[in-house]
Symmetry: C2
Subunit: 124 residues, 2 copies
């Protein structure tokens, strides 16, 4: 039977708020050893995403505020979606992760290309 | 038949040298839309790797030189290795890419978890 996003996602991923600084986002990525942080509202609804690539962009272009580097039009997936549809979405948009949300937009998890690559590691 | 690293890797990936600055590495990642840059010698031999996560670490810990953030004990793979062995190496070390080298350590390509996730996208 099919493998779903909920079967492989990270539950309760580390997140930041819109008021976080770039340094705080960088420190959280370092501490949690992650490269993607959903940006959420007070009640955990998805507002955007910031990644290690965005922090690298801040260094290259000398931006100072998280607001200037976060991506607001976030591509997300549902827990019950198949991993193939998640993989297709990530390939289509050249992104390495998708926040997993419920139908009210509340962040439940995070799925990344690392998770999917791990499935290939187990295949044989 | 088996899918090999050479079948999916990026050929001639963007690279930096040990004398590159953190800003130059960040600019190259932005321009090429990548998150991993092998660090190479004058004759293209692998010396290390620097990633968007390392640049994020530089922001968090206030490091200024590429030398202070690059990883020197690089885990690599050969073109003729299977994608499953590449996926297992990346999972084992919690890394998202492997420089592809020949047996003299010359950089031929780069394989990432994005490449492997793309294979899941095509499966169905
Ligand atoms: C075009 S990708 C290339 C690098 C790498 N694949 C990555 O995902 O970081 C980098 C950009 O994609 C954005 N991004 C990452 N995940 C996203 C998602 N789920 N929805 C929308 N944008 C996303 C980041 O904010 C960053 O600006
Ligand atoms: C522990 S990983 C966690 C984040 C993410 N998975 C990544 O690969 O960037 C981050 C560290 O792995 C290192 N790294 C990435 N690819 C590597 C490789 N092929 N060999 C050795 N270290 C590597 C980076 O230099 C960085 O310091």
């Amino acid at each position: 039977s099919e493998t779903l996003v909920v079967d492989v996602m990270t539950i309760n991923p580390a997140t930041v708020t819109e008021n976080s600084s770039i340094e705080e986002a960088a420190e959280l990525m370092l501490d949690e050893k992650v490269t993607h942080l959903p940006v959420v509202s007070e009640d955990d609804k998805i507002l955007g995403i910031v990644t290690a690539w965005d922090i690298s962009k801040a260094v290259a272009l000398k931006y100072n505020k998280l607001d200037e580097i976060m991506t607001r039009d976030v591509i997300t997936t549902l827990p019950q979606d198949s991993i193939e549809s998640a993989a297709r979405k990530m390939r289509k948009h050249n992104i390495s992760s998708l926040p997993v949300v419920n139908d009210q937009g509340r962040v439940l998890g995070l799925i990344t290309t690392d998770h999917l690559s791990t499935l290939i590691a187990k295949d044989k």
